[in-house]
């Protein structure tokens, strides 16, 4: 069960012809898929399309009604391979993932798919994780489109354009027998807007029809000699067909401006930011009317040479707004203009930064610089930020960064506290990180981990250190990464190559970082998926001898297991499964039950931690071993002390980590656990009265003693 539920919102997917759909980008995309008569959908979660996967999961009933098969794929490669269904049959399919990382994983299948080509339309919806809010290396999916000759659609960031782009993508795919990337930028996935809906279309033929009537075409299989044929087809047939389709259906857009000597070419995804920035500069209005003509590349690849030549022909120069690098579009356009003997100067990277996101501020600087050269008579209005520049400088260094961190009560926290304590005792280890919430270990306060090589690759990332050492390499892996590929690339690899290192698998019952999706080892029952397959058993299955599962909150046990594993007794890889449920999901599950039980009058105990301000040293060692959002600081109530004291706020879920850490790290004696008894029984009450009566009497005596001396 995922973190965010779309159960109610998916009802909008049933809207029919002419009705107004209002909702988020990811829902709009799903609706568009259904309107296009898609037969199957697969994918792997990851920001920014995690919620698209959640929408699809929550919409499973509606999908089934339409005969659409949805699969929560094991990896992006598995999802991409699903599209094989469209090679021989006129079945439309869509697959989705986070890009470029997911596209990397999917590349093998994608390249095969793109080589043989498709009969049914295939749309690969990539969440382009670039710029603000991104969590990965900054690269472009554009490169993949070029190398495999798949087409790349980059729609303007509003629901209407996105929905139209989905339909265009299927048609373009079928017209050119080529899978098509639909690139959704981060904010496009979560843009709320509206569009006019159409009826959903039941796919025809169906998947069952196709299975009943298998088609085999050896020319579509990637094996010589067909593979050589495919390369010829790509350039001689599919590419021209795509260009023809784009031109005939006007997939790219032209905004005509007053000026004819200068103009702008931009990627579709940047259009809105560009226009609004131009509006601030007096170069456009807020309704998309521009003084400068703009050629909008809704299809970023392939380019339509004629359209480019036609746009540039009479211009002295054109500003190219192409985000990301290398500047593939700029290079191509320059080639097109050279071949077409057009003298317009293309001004792109150089005036605009080579690398980095094109925010409004960046675009403004680029536009101003471009116009200063292209139209010396034009005077830029004052930059509103000049007025605040000084003020910004005053606070620039003092506003603290807010890096991501583990949630309140996160079960991974004690694992890292244990590792940090072990390092304090035995010295630093080489730690190979992986992708997932656990990668936050590299940030303060834990500062653990040396590299990260990709999802599920934590153990593989330590495989070179297969030498005898007092301090073997430690690798981390999440349960998500384990099932994605880590079981083979990491664990199996270590068994086969006789690596003695330690791999800690963080098992928190979900693909937690992407929003709590279920996976093979999830403990809960899932009505439509098979769960409860144990990680330790899988590791043993591929030949691991030393495998242990330890509850993460038990820091003493965790520390001793860690020490045993690195002390290197016994050959072969050590796998330590650090098990405890993701607290966010656990709270979501248990909190309502708890509240209900208390409401129903059941006896319930509730733990919460606290810090005694008067014994707290203000050293914050506890925070450096925790980083829990609920463990924070407050002004010192003691007028003699200046340092803020540690303080547990009321978001504490009583996970117990603070107490365990206080014991294991020998911290100050300020922590206490309060155990509150709700709906106490008669015995509870009697004992409480007895205890508090007797202790109260002793306390009064002590207080009287103190008063006499005061």
């Amino acid at each position: 069960m995922a973190e965010r539920s779309f159960k109610q919102e998916v009802e909008k997917l049933r809207l029919g012809d002419g009705e107004i759909f209002a909702g988020e980008g990811i829902l709009a995309v799903t609706k568009a898929l259904l309107e296009c008569g898609v037969s199957y959908v697969g994918g792997y979660q990851g920001s920014p399309i995690s919620h698209l996967m959640d929408v699809l999961s929550d919409a499973e009933e509606i999908l089934r009604e339409l005969g659409v098969h949805f699969e929560s794929s094991a990896s992006e490669a598995a999802a991409a391979a699903m599209a094989a269904a469209s090679v021989n049959y006129p079945l439309r399919g869509a697959v989705t993932w986070k890009s470029t990382v997911g596209t990397n994983v999917a590349s093998d299948a994608l390249a095969n798919l793109a080589s043989g080509g498709v009969k049914g339309g295939v749309v690969v919806i990539v969440g382009e994780d670039y710029g603000e809010g991104s969590s990965i290396m900054q690269e472009r999916t554009h490169a993949f489109a070029m190398k495999s000759q798949m087409w790349l659609i980059d729609p303007a960031p509003n629901t209407e354009d996105i929905v139209r782009a989905v339909a265009n993508a299927f048609e373009l795919s079928e017209a050119s027998n080529t899978p098509v990337f639909l690139q959704l930028r981060i904010r496009s996935c979560h843009v709320h807007g509206r569009f006019t809906a159409k009826d959903n279309r039941v796919p025809s033929p169906t998947l069952a029809d196709a299975l009943a009537n298998p088609v085999r075409d050896i020319d579509r299989i990637v094996l010589p000699p067909a593979s050589f044929l495919h390369e010829q087809e790509k350039v001689n047939e599919r590419w021209p067909a795509a260009v023809r389709f784009i031109r005939e259906h006007k997939l790219n857009r032209r905004i005509e401006g007053r000026r004819s000597d200068i103009g702008i070419i931009c990627q579709g995804g940047l259009l809105n930011s560009l226009l609004r920035t131009m509006e601030r500069l007096g170069l456009a209005d807020s309704f998309g009317n521009s003084q400068l003509p703009i050629y909008v590349l809704n299809v970023a690849y392939p380019l339509v040479d004629d359209e480019i030549l036609d746009f540039c022909r009479d211009k002295a120069s054109v500003l190219l707004v192409e985000e990301g690098q290398p500047n593939y579009i700029e290079q191509s356009i320059n080639t097109v203009l050279r071949h077409g003997d057009c003298q317009a100067a293309i001004i792109g990277k150089g005036i605009l930064p080579v690398a980095g996101e094109y925010t409004s501020t960046v675009l403004r600087a680029g536009l101003v610089a471009y116009l200063a050269g292209a139209d010396p008579a034009w005077v830029a209005p004052d930059d509103p930020l000049l007025q605040v520049k000084q003020a910004m400088e005053v606070i620039a260094d003092s506003v603290p960064a807010r890096p991501p961190g583990l949630c309140t009560g996160c079960p991974e926290r004690p694992v890292f506290a244990s590792l940090k304590l072990m390092q304090q005792e035995l010295g630093d280890f080489h730690i190979s990180g992986d992708i997932g919430c656990h990668l936050f270990s590299i940030l303060p306060p834990f500062n653990l981990g040396n590299t990260t090589m990709g999802y599920g690759l934590g153990a593989a990332g330590a495989s070179a250190f297969n030498v005898s050492s007092e301090k073997p390499a430690i690798s981390l892996m999440g349960d998500g990464g384990f099932w994605h590929n880590g079981l083979t690339s990491g664990i199996g690899n270590a068994v086969f190559n006789k690596n003695d290192g330690l791999t800690i698998v963080i098992d928190n019952n979900y693909a937690a970082a992407t929003g709590g999706q279920d996976l093979l080892s999830s403990k809960g029952e899932n009505p439509v998926r098979s769960t409860q397959h144990k990680i330790e058993k899988a590791a043993r299955g591929v030949g691991v001898k030393w495998a242990k599962t330890v509850k993460t909150y038990d820091i003493a046990a965790m520390r001793s297991a860690l020490k045993e594993a690195v002390n290197g007794k016994g050959n072969g890889p050590k796998v330590l499964v650090a098990q405890s449920e993701c607290m966010l999901n656990r709270q979501r599950r248990e909190k309502p039950q708890f509240v209900k039980a208390v409401h129903d009058g059941k006896r319930m105990e509730q733990d919460r931690f606290g810090v005694d301000a008067d014994t707290c040293t203000g050293d914050h060692a506890c925070i450096r071993l925790s980083g829990c959002p609920s463990l924070t600081i407050k002004a010192n109530p003691d007028p003699l002390k200046k340092q803020p004291v540690s303080f547990v706020d009321n978001s504490c879920v009583g996970c117990g980590n603070c107490g365990e850490v206080a014991h294991e790290a020998v911290l100050c004696p300020s922590f206490y656990k309060g155990t509150v008894v709700h709906n106490p029984g008669a015995l509870d009450r009697a004992l409480w009265r007895l205890r508090s009566g007797f202790i109260g009497w002793l306390q009064e005596r002590a207080a009287r003693g103190r008063m006499r001396a005061a």
């Binding site: 807007g193 209005d285 930020l385 914050h620 924070t632 206080a662 004696p669 206490y672 309060g674 002590a702």
Partner: protein, 504 residues
Amino acid sequence: MWDRPLSVAMLALGGQGGGVLTKWLVDIAEHQGFLAQSTYVAGVAQRTGATVYCVEMFPQAEAEKHGNPVFTPYPVPGDIDLVITGEFAETGRAILKGFVTPNATTLIASSHRVYSIDEKSALGDGRLDQSTVLRVAREVSKELICFDMEQAAEDAGSIISAVMLGAIAASRALPFERSDFEDAIRRGAKAVSRNLAGFDAGYRLATAAPAVSGGAQAAEMPHAEGAVGEALLRRTAKLPQPARISAGHGALRALDYQDEAYAYLYLDRVELCAAADNATQNHELTEVFARNLALQMCYEDTLRVADLKTRASRFARVREHLGVADDQPAYIVEYFHPRYEEVCDTMPAAIGRKMAESARLRRWLAPLFRKGRNVTTNKIGGYLLLSVLSGFRRWRRSTYRFALQQEFITSWIEQVIAAARDDYRFAVALCDCMDIVRGYGDTYERGRTRFETATRLARASEVGNRADILRRLHKAALADEDGNRFHELQSELEAEIEAESVAV
């Protein structure tokens, strides 16, 4: 005439309900005949830091005349009508992102803090200076509405996003009536009455409250509970004005910690410092001396911890923290980890010293203290254990740690008094620097070693430079836990001293 959309940017932390607030705004706009767009980056609950939400709206009737407006996916600086920040450091961030401009932007900010990990994990006080950010916020915005929205939400039994919505309504930055906002809450159909209460609180406070920063409050003179205390406080009247409050607190602390004689010993020592102090420097020295002396004299040992943990006033504080009803059972479990060292500290000086110095005894006995112990202070066994321990404080003067501590204090006082005459700034720095000597176990050991190294290095340099060197070392000592910065600076200074001695 509308020539561009109304633009709203919101900076919220994970879990603050930025998404809910965005939904309300879009809902209100759409119900009032506006076209609306919102964008955000999916904050994965608490894990991601701060998220920027962007809402834009434009009247549909105007759109029918002029065409659909172009909505931006990300706030365009210079163009933003309303900025809302759900936490005060985020206000600074919004300004740094260029979202707030003087002629355009109404800024609604909550003054409360959710400290960042760097602020929290600092070895000393790493908190942001709120007053500077507040001044800047006032300077760069068209209008600033700033109050503690978290507190307002708590007081109203509501959530912060509802309070923020109330503040937005009150700001009049959006062309909607109060009832339009409230209707959206009702349409949300979730926790309606609680959200309305929060909304109302936000509306009221935004209308009434002047911008506040939540700065620190000045200390006040304490009240004595009995005759002994009153006499002590009377004696502080003889001290220079700036030192009286700290000395008053210090004297009462020493009394509470040990006894009357100890409190007078404390005041004797403060007076000694005052006599050496310099009126032209506004008696700054005596103030910091009084504060730090009190903390050193009332160091926290096992006896003190047992004493503090067993007091009725502390039980009441814990119950308040837990938010329990009057007769509701709530047990307090302490996490103690007395080590061999703490045991030595509490022993009579001769035995403690022998135990601390004997490797064999340590080998035999230390394993007994390797594990932490949980004590339930408000069950009879636990209480008796701690209260008996607390009673041992009458013999504190004979303990090993007391002897060590007095030795340390005496030598420090001598240094301060000596420095007061020929290098006043160094004397003050010697007191300020004392704040690295605190706590228990490793924290204490580390602090004390560094204090001694720092003062040694400072004294090795010329008079006049000493204060600066000590302050640099003080800052370095608080820079990181492993002491990397401190040790770097230490080697640097030692090399300088070496070079100088060679040159001479």
